[in-house]
Amino acid sequence: MLFAAIPLLAHHSFGAEYDASKPITITGVVTKVEWTNPHSYFYLDVKDDQGNVASWKFEGYPPGVLYRTGWKRQVTIKPGDTVKVFGWQARDGTHWGHSREVTFADGKKLYFGPPAGTGDGGATPAVEIQ
């Protein structure tokens, strides 16, 4: 019943797209980086135990925020780099994730996206719950 009133368009809500109770840590090889608004993305080729390769897509901050938090376009993360990503998987179970922390081959870590829960209203609604 509630669904009938929902416009099916959004991008800022973490909680709608990702499940904060299901953190993931994945290592793979970067295949593409999209330095775009309103979110940046990078793609990883991830090999499983059987040697099968899956392409994952990770979402994060817009370029302006990445710039201010120490990322350099076409320098910090490039196709061919092996990185470890901590984040949260999409609720639909597809190979789409919200990336929080990226660990590079030299051990350096940077946040690619915000903490869990951003943009979905947080822990407390603006009004008192009746």
Partner: protein
Amino acid sequence: MMRALAVIALLSCVMVAQAQKKSSFPRMPDGKPNLTGVWQGGSTARGTWEEANKGTGLGGTGLDPSAPGVLSASDRPANREPAPYQPWAAAKVMESYKVRGIDDPTARCLPPGIPRTSLLGLFPTQIVETPEQIVILYEYMNVSRVIRMNAKHPDDLVPTYMGDSVGRWDGDTLVVDITGFNDKTWLIGTGTFHTEMLHVTERYKRVDKDRIDYDVTMEDPGVLTKPWVIHSNLMLREGTRLQEYVCAENNLDPGHYEDLVKDGVKFTRP
């Protein structure tokens, strides 16, 4: 005569010295506070952007986990009274909260309105002051406002996302009156809708070189029971340049949402 002139000269020097001593921040030639600069909303931390954003919260680098975070455009401001919505309107706000804000107008790249744009801390804000008008540029959504000083709102206002801003000085405080809003923005926090009756009053008081105290009062008899007042701050971020933010460039998530709903994936709050 000479003695009188000497006294006047001495008094003038004392007055100028006192004025300079009193002011710990730049002033315009006419003595009004000069707010020109790049600022960060929702913060009380001093220093450059890098120095002031080391926490693990939104937009922080995590280099100092004890450092405070800043407000997201979808969060309820911390330590504030609940938004004074009329019961029917509060129920509508809760509907948006329960669906985790996927009905957020900014998620469709629409302008965030006021005060939502001025309270958030993830993106910088640039103020350019002249005696006749004060321009505020927001990195978030690439929106801007021109505050016409000592002017009146036009009689033929058409409702807009950012409203019509006119300003005046009340001593050292810039008071901005905004009307002419449409009903398509949220005030601050998920679901905080309003009507075209919205009237916003902002007060910018530069208290020292680094800090503006920012008080905002929202009045809307269409949805609120009383004026909703929020106290916040803008902190000077020397050396920060506004970046371009073109939201329509690669807004992929709407399609993702359509799929989530079509596939019946559960994401609502109880």
